[in-house]
């Protein structure tokens, strides 16, 4: 077979193209910074204010990531492995924070008062927005575990807690580390989640550089730090790509795991989950209610004045989200398929390149794309297509992760059987792999859709001048006197987010495995 690095040539070419496209903003940023001169890079990076802000970012990441790890693993275990009452409900509630736009959450927290507008708010928002990443990955890993392993642990004299620590945890560790890595990267480049706060981080500095008369090279210089950090984390973290291999279902029939009875622990568990739900979903929802109640008094006039923008904004948001979801899926598919088929080094590197979108604050990536379009591909500048492309490459890692999880569970012999029956590579993929991996495809689409809906900074830079989205309208109105005007936009965003969370939880990881007895 004509192969390149363990996969067919066509697939390899598609992977290469995906990786190159995803790497565009990083490459452009580096070029910009170099063009700005190394002295500019040096002076920008060397300033004490920059250093303080970088430290702020690191502090937020350091505080939020352990919380994400603990909440994510605990939530995943309770939902997946115990007879917790109302599991489907909790699954949706626990994943919903990820789909609720961070800028909405941010304004909601800020409304609680000054105490939440500083470091506590920043770390809290990041922790309770991104723990679902750990939750989802660990949940899929738990689902893939062979129950015989746990039973063997018990038979060797380990009690329930010891079995969890010595048998279960080591096996979900790759998923946990992978999830925490994503949280760290996210926290370092987060901007949208802090728009409502008075807390300034690294991304704020980038934003300021941008506001100060489009200082692209200054912003680019700042991004050097995050690119370097991202590369170190990505390529130094050996475990990152491991988790999908752990979820691979072994051959033959495998029993589903017995769920543990919670007994007397049921009530405290429900209380804890309710607390997590209250912090992550309750705060935005509560604020929404308050904004609406305010609108009945003070901001009524401005709110009703804005209502005529609601439908067009919703349509634009949904269009951008849907288009980005499809584009992201197309970018992620070849990489995910190749990564499942081979463990070759070249494909591994290409897969990790897709995570490079975590190397840049969204804003810098958006500026880089705008710069590239205005200089080299002018016909793309200021178009809907460029915005869609930007959103797709920003969130492609999430699509890759969900596709890998789904594809990794399929036996290769299924596609080979299809080939032996006369179906070509594409026909085999279409007739066998696609239908079986459909839940993973749906999860990938929904994730990219929801993230695009919840994105503010990229949209603000790349949105064509005559268009507006739910996010931009919310943001424009939230800076006015009364939040009431912003409330309808936030309401639609949250409803869409909850719907996305619902679809996600009814699909994610639910892959039909090989014909078991």
């Amino acid at each position: 077979m004509k192969e390149r690095f363990g996969v067919s040539r066509g697939l390899f070419a598609a992977c290469l193209l995906s990786a190159l496209l995803v790497a565009v903003p990083v490459v452009v940023t580096v070029v910009q910074a170099v063009q700005g001169g190394f002295s500019a890079v040096h002076s920008t990076l060397g300033s004490t204010s920059t250093l303080t802000l970088v430290l702020h970012s690191i502090e937020v990441a350091a505080a939020a990531t352990p919380i994400c790890g603990i909440v994510g693993v605990a939530a995943a275990w309770f939902v997946e492995r115990t007879r917790l009452p109302g599991r489907p409900f909790w699954a949706v509630i626990l994943v919903a924070p990820l789909t609720i736009p961070p800028f909405v959450t941010s304004y909601a927290w800020a409304n609680f008062g000054p105490a939440f507008q500083g470091f506590v708010g920043a770390a809290g928002i990041v922790a309770f927005t991104y723990y679902p990443i750990v939750f989802l990955l660990v949940m899929v890993a738990l689902r893939g575990l062979d129950p015989a392993l746990e039973e063997t642990g018990r038979s060797l004299g380990l009690n329930g807690r010891q079995t969890f620590v010595r048998v279960v945890l080591p096996q979900v560790r790759p998923a946990l580390y992978g999830g925490m890595l994503l949280v760290v990267l996210d926290a370092l480049i987060e901007f949208d989640a802090f728009v409502g706060l008075k807390f300034q981080t690294f991304s704020f500095d980038v934003y300021a550089q941008y506001q100060l008369g489009f200082s692209a090279s200054g912003a680019a210089a700042l991004s050097f730090a995050s690119i370097a950090l991202c590369l170190v984390l990505l390529f130094g973290e050996v475990h990152l790509r491991g988790y999908a291999n752990y979820t691979r279902v072994s051959q033959g029939a495998r029993r589903t795991a017995e769920r543990y009875r919670l007994g007397r622990a049921a009530f405290p568990t429900l209380l804890a989950l309710a607390a997590v739900g209250a912090i992550s979903v309750g705060i935005p929802l509560g604020m929404l209610v308050r904004w609406f109640s305010e609108s009945s008094s003070a901001g009524l006039s401005s709110a009703s004045g804005n209502l005529k923008y609601l439908l067009p904004a919703t349509l634009t948001s949904v269009e951008v989200g849907a288009a980005a979801a499809i584009a992201g899926l197309l970018l992620a598919l070849p990489i995910a398929v190749a990564a499942v088929r081979t463990r070759g080094r070249v494909v591994t590197v290409l897969e990790r390149v897709t995570y490079l979108s975590f190397a840049l604050p969204d804003l810098v990536a958006a500026i880089a794309l705008a710069y590239a379009a205005s200089h080299w591909l002018h016909f793309l500048y200021g178009t809907f297509g460029l915005l869609v492309f930007a959103e797709a490459i920003l969130f492609v890692p999430f699509a890759v992760v969900s596709l890998r999880a789904a594809l990794g569970q399929l036996e290769p012999s299924l596609e080979e059987s299809a080939r032996s029956l006369g179906s070509g590579p594409f026909a085999s993929f279409w007739r066998v792999t696609m239908p079986l991996a459909r839940p993973g495809l749906a999860a990938a689409l929904v994730l990219v859709f929801a993230f695009t809906l919840g994105d503010l900074s990229t949209t603000q830079v790349l949105l064509p001048v005559n268009l507006y989205t739910l996010g931009t309208e919310f943001n424009a109105n939230s800076s006015t006197v009364a939040f009431a005007a912003a409330a309808p936009f936030a309401a639609v965003l949250i409803v869409l987010a909850l719907a996305a969370a619902y679809v996600l939880m009814t699909r994610f990881g639910r892959v039909r495995t090989a014909a078991a007895r």
């Binding site: 077979m1 004509k2 192969e3 051959q251 033959g252 036996e411 012999s413 299924l414 080979e416 059987s417 299809a418 080939r419 032996s420 029956l421 006369g422 179906s423 070509g424 590579p425 026909a427 085999s428 007739r431 066998v432 239908p435 079986l436 039909r512 495995t513 090989a514 014909a515 078991a516 007895r517």
Partner: protein, 347 residues
């Protein structure tokens, strides 16, 4: 010549050579079993023939059509018209039995369903199965459906990868009979890959023994069993008792007496290979060779005795099969007699 032919096939993964100059001819309409332990390269050979792996050397042809030639020709797996029954069947879990069987048929034939029913009948599954889901089938039924699926498009050859593994003894026998009947009825050229010597000997018209990537012997089952090319093959295809001896032309002298040699006359020190069923035990110990029972395994139809020679300068452990277990107990003294010619190998 029609049928399946591998000529000088070489395959490697990186530095490691998995197949070394494999020559295999499967005559049209016959079944050849490839017997090899795990890691012998049998799965790689199968994947080379299927087209999932490109050979680094040599060629593969099916019905005189070259489908692979190292560096020059590589026909895609779907264009080779070679049916494939993967381990455990690999039925598509999202399709019904009928949809699985019809998968490789053109759309019109798929809809007409006649061929699907023919194929299912061929493997002994009546119509009731057509609308079931793979998950509702037993392991044996899954293998049969997988074979029906492979046979439906009338392939030039069918490859079966460990088709009976993981089935219990009764189901295994039943499934094997159904599979062999179906293959015989279609006159398909077939290759069956297995690590189980009994399965290889009982299914193949010919058995090819693969060891460390080389085909060490290809022969009819009886020939392979009686005249293996070396001691390793002898031990691999069945139980073997091996003792030292001195060959004198067409006889060999050893602790078991002077025995006739099978095949070419030879001279000098040799190793003598005797099959356990050639060793006959007698209750009286006035036979020439006396032995003591040191082990005793009852299998119902037969009993396998482990024996140790009583006297003689060397100690040898023998295995003997007897049909009647006449109250033999550990420590009993028995007389031993070897029936038929034995194989000798240069020591």
């Amino acid at each position: 010549m029609a049928g399946l032919r591998c000529t000088d096939v070489v395959a490697s993964y990186g530095e490691r050579t998995v197949l070394e100059r494999v020559d295999l001819v499967v005559p049209e309409g016959t079944l050849t079993a490839i017997l090899g332990s795990s890691g012998s390269g049998k799965t790689t050979l199968l994947r080379v023939v299927m087209g999932f792996v490109a050979p680094d050397g040599g060629a593969v042809s099916v019905d005189d059509r070259v489908v692979a030639e190292a560096g020059r020709i590589h026909v895609a797996p779907e264009k080779r018209a070679i049916g494939y029954v993967a381990q455990e069947g690999a039925l598509f879990p999202h399709l019904t039995v009928a949809e699985n069987v019809g998968f490789g048929l053109p759309r019109s034939e798929r809809r007409a369903r006649r061929r699907v029913e023919e194929a299912l009948t061929l493997v002994g599954l009546e119509r009731g199965y057509a609308d079931r889901r793979p998950q509702e089938l037993s392991g044996g039924e899954q293998r049969r459906v997988a074979l029906a699926r492979a046979l439906a498009p009338r392939p030039a050859a069918v490859l079966l990868d460990e088709p009976f593994s993981g089935l219990d003894a009764a189901l295994r026998a039943e499934t094997r009979a159904a599979v062999l009947d179906a293959l015989a009825a279609t006159g398909a050229t077939a290759v069956l890959v297995t690590h189980d010597q009994a399965e290889a000997l009982s299914t193949g018209r010919e058995v090819a023994v693969l060891r460390d990537g080389r085909l060490v012997q290809t022969a009819a089952p009886t020939t392979l069993y009686r005249t293996p090319v070396d001691l390793d093959v002898a031990r691999f295809v069945g139980e073997a008792v091996v003792v030292a001896g001195q060959a004198h032309g067409d006889t060999v002298a050893c602790v078991l007496g002077t025995l006739p040699v099978r095949g070419e006359p030879t001279h000098g020190p040799v190793q003598v290979m005797v099959r356990p069923e050639q060793i006959e035990v007698r209750a009286d110990d006035d036979a020439r060779v006396a032995a003591r029972v040191i082990g005793h395994s009852f299998y119902g139809a037969e009993t396998v005795l482990k024996l140790e020679l009583v006297d003689g300068s060397e100690t040898a452990v023998l295995l003997a099969r007897t049909l009647d277990d006449a109250g033999v107990e550990l420590g009993d003294r028995l007389g031993v007699l070897v029936r038929g010619p034995v194989m000798v190998y240069a020591a």
